[in-house]
Amino acid sequence: MAIDSNSLTVLSYFSGLSVAELEVIKQSFFEKTIQRGEMIFLEEEPADILFFLISGIVKLFKTSAQGKEQIISLARPYEVLNDISIFDNGPNPMSAQAMSTVTLYGIKKGRLEVILRQHPQVSSRIIQVLATRTRQLISLVEDLSFKHVIGRVAKILLEHTGDGAGPGQRLTQQEMAAMAGTAREVVARSLKAMEERGLIRLERHRIVISDKNALQEMINQEV
């Protein structure tokens, strides 16, 4: 399949480049189709090709020593997937798996370096993209490392309980995240941690609090 320069314009790396410039740049790209469930790259492996997601959804995640998966993000079309390892020459910091049929545009590191030399404005765009991501990651680190988020989520749960008889108040993970002032991923992780400790049970569209006192203690500890 031919590379579509319209798709390249949408990539934040290349915004602002002229049609003529994109026509030249697109020669360095190739297209790749991946089926749902297939891995695109693995954590800790070296990276030689920079991938952009053109269509479909990609899960970026880390796996703990115990084999537990932590989703870092679900990438949507036109996001870059592995710039960190391409630019710091290190191994992939996370794995990537196709969550649907996925179309990728790939470019070899060497070819990218040539483009960067010829079009310095692409470098400034890349710096901007990396800086934005660093900012997002800093706030994620803050939320993950300071224990109080889990306490805040526990408080939200206790403040929104119904008795199970009638239609109680309903909350989405997105809403809990907004209330706790954190990212949706952090709420998902907090809920999982509470479930593992036996404090709650996640059922289909229900969160059942099985140990109210322990949740209350969790809140008190944080204050």
């Binding site: 989405t172 229900r206 609090i209």
Partner: protein, 68 residues
């Protein structure tokens, strides 16, 4: 009746990402409208809510205290 995630059609931009991510085929396009089929295979993974770029899709949880 099987409860399914909800969609606010006014916010939906028909990007189709929810349809792509759902593993059980519960989300379909009927004409120009994203719709849910009531199926038990939907185990409330909430991935459709997570991927929706406009916040049109919601998988809400009822929070209850277990009777002891």
């Amino acid at each position: 009746m099987i409860q399914m995630p909800e969609i606010n059609q006014d916010k939906c931009n028909l990007c189709g990402l929810c349809i792509e991510i759902c593993r059980c085929g519960a989300i379909i396009l009927v004409g120009n409208i994203v719709s849910f089929i009531e199926i038990e295979e939907c185990h409330w993974c909430t991935l459709c809510e997570a991927i929706c770029p406009t916040g049109a899709l919601t998988c809400s949880f009822e929070i209850i205290i277990e009777e002891r």
